[in-house]
Symmetry: C2
Subunit: 209 residues, 2 copies
């Protein structure tokens, strides 16, 4: 058994993180329902009871997975947002793409965050992190709205809600390989074209562009 660069702590080394990763792998594989504490423990090569040294219980473990997911999520969105600057339009489009990219690259996290039935207010840290992620979208929307004349300027929070809903819908319906439901188009194209049409509807892209 190769231990790697001798980084182990007491016994396992870093059981806490190993459990989170086992949980994510299970969620990814079998959905939020298919994850059990015992199985996660087994996957980490440890007795179920050992889990209680690190988490108060099953829900705590999922919450930690979601927490880590939101952290990466917010980072990715922020990075995409910055990359689009100084154009608010490019920022918002990049942010949308980053949303989908996250869901594809971290499906376990995505499920833990949005489909596990975790209550956001169970944990202030979770609420803060999810707020931060959504905040990026809102900031992009606010800047975008500033480009429109005030009289035809919808509320920025509504716009960010639209983008979020569209992104989430594309992920849920077309991105994950729902058995028996075939996507007519690649989800990336679907989201990109959808956002494009939407932004044109806001008057931010030329009608003939």
């Amino acid at each position: 058994m190769v231990t790697g660069p001798k980084k182990r702590g007491y016994h396992h080394g870093n059981l806490r993180q190993a459990l989170v990763e086992a949980a994510l792998a299970l969620i990814e594989e079998k959905g939020p329902t298919g994850f059990t504490l015992s199985e996660a423990a087994k996957a980490a090569g440890v007795t179920p009871a050992a889990v209680y040294r690190h988490f108060a219980g099953r829900d705590e473990l999922i919450a930690e997975a979601a927490r880590q997911g939101f952290e990466v999520f917010a980072d990715l969105l922020e990075h995409a947002y910055e990359k689009g600057r100084p154009s608010p339009l490019a920022s918002l489009e990049a942010t949308g793409r980053a949303y989908l990219a996250f869901a594809r690259r971290f499906p376990g996290h995505y499920v833990a965050m949005f489909e596990s039935g975790i209550a956001m207010n169970r944990d202030p840290e979770l609420a803060r992190l999810s707020g931060r992620a959504l905040g990026v979208l809102e900031k992009a929307a606010v800047e975008l709205m500033a480009e429109l004349p005030p009289e035809k300027r919808p509320p920025a929070r509504m716009v960010s809600a639209h983008i979020w809903a569209l992104s989430h819908g594309v992920v849920e319906l077309f991105s994950r390989g729902a058995p028996g439901r075939k996507s007519p188009f690649p989800p990336e194209d679907l989201l990109e074209s959808g956002i494009g049409i939407y932004l044109r509807g806001l008057g931010l892209i030329r009608p003939d562009a």
Copy 2:
């Protein structure tokens, strides 16, 4: 014990349907995870074993609930579609509203259909019914696209996918009372405004309307 209009069959009368309804109530109340065969049986006033007279097992029961949901769903969409005629624009908008109305009025069905992890191809009837529902949306999109000049006419299936994704996203994120996540706007307004902006982006509504 009042039996009502004496419609009961052998013992229970109509256990099959009673089980479906108990399952829906449980799903509605506690999510797709929170539903167990035993609890549904108890809610219907019957022994767990009795379920097997009517369904092959737990999954069969959920599938039946989803099947009934899709039936109502397709009917509602179709009705809304017809109501909007002969204007394709009005048809599509009404169909979108009907989508949300269904999710609100039949939350248990909606969850069984879209969040229970039921495989659509497990059951040809289920595939047929879900196809019929989606078909209404596609038909509306096809007619709508016919109003556009061919050179600026996106694929109808893409348009219907956009509408579907936006509707589903609004339902999942803002319609159901996800604890700790407060909706900034009523979901109906959110969907209506979103679809409106989108249709304007397609060039189907006047920019200044």
